[in-house]
Amino acid sequence: MKRRDLNEKKVLMNEEAIENSLNRIVSEIIEKNPDLEKCAVVGIRTRGEYLAERIVRKIKEIKGVTVPFGVIDIALYRDDFFKSLSTPAVGPSHFDFDIEEYDVILVDDVLFTARTIRAAIEALMDYGRPKSVQLAVLVDRGHRELPIRADYTGKIVDSDKNNEAVALFIKELDAVDKVVLVQK
């Protein structure tokens, strides 16, 4: 569904809250990975890509290190490919580095059932065997269906599994930065 058609119930994070969360995530990444030269940041399309770009920029600002950046599309690895009503749109994945040599930090906007993350990990493995995979998410809304957790979490929010959703609006695509609770 298009972002503008969503039935917004409440703003969970505004621009400042998102910025603060990203700053905290970046400091945690720097603290946990003393050897930043070995780190790469990979965003999950679509909105994870832009969060990942911001994380790369912030690491550069703070530590002066440009970590490799990549984008991964999970459409081809979804486990509901034959259950969804229409064929999910697929976009290109791209890496300009050999992931085998890196600790890869996957970045997504909202962590929910974790099925997206499972698909992203599987997709990543088809590009090689990263030294390790860490997960950074802006929002964790719970209701996991797989044994996966995030290493870096911006904000934990309560939400109803079936009747609500959590959506990120991001300036690069939606002209504004905010996270909203949506009534389905």
Binding site: L76, F81, S84, L85, S86, T87, V90, P92, H94, D126
Partner: protein, 303 residues
Amino acid sequence: MKHLLGIENLNRDQIMNILETAESFESINKRAVKKVPTLKGKMVVNFFAEPSTRTRLSFEVAEKRLSADTYNMAVSGSAIQKGETLSDTALNIQAMQPDALVIRHTSSGLPNMLADIMDCSIINAGDGFHEHPTQALLDAFTIKQKKTTFKGLKVALIGDILHSRVARSNIYLLNKLDADITVSGPGTMIPVGIEKMGVKVAKTPAEAVRGADVVMMLRVQNERASNLLYPDTREYSKFFCLTPELLSLADSEALVMHPGPANRGVEIDDIVMDGESSVILEQVSNGVSVRMAVLYLLLGGQN
């Protein structure tokens, strides 16, 4: 979209969606693990009742890269040789619950007939003189990689237009994307009234090639009696072979395309075929990405 029977019934958005989806598949074809799990457990039957190297291999590669289970059938070695009718063969294939059937046949319109009697997706891999939709899509994909826009793009289509399903599918497709198409070939190979399809007919190949952005050569199809329509191969080649001289009339950035298999020295000169303007082998590489996109879009989702 359930079937891909031809380009004629597709609209511009459907075509662009296939081309854009194909772009996403390109990176898979270049990486070390050239496989994604998307069509795991899906059954695809390739039934080629006519010789084919490129198209058959390309479909099979595309299916396997998407993790589908593929089965290949040929007329020789099938019960058709014992006298089973094609529709009975089709119903028997159907009874094994395939998800898609890729069909190449000499009979124009056969894929449409199969779409009526079978439940699975039908993909036309070339039917008689009718259409060869995935070829036109991969040609368009190749052009899209090299040229900024299709609008007003000058395309010269040269050779046996009458017997060419590649020409027909390309004319439908390029017209839907607003390209400017000129055909040329021996008078006996230009169908009467082809202007109604929205193309210009040039009096000479030089007229068609002059200023062209894309020069598409078609194969002389001797198995379809092309050879009855012109005096001899040498004479055909004298007038219609794409030589460096003829190509020099085209735009300096022009692309030379050929759907293959090419008759070197008949419709295309060695120097041109192996030259810098030629994207003939890129067409083949792109064929895999485009066929992956078609399979993906036809077999995904619940419908």
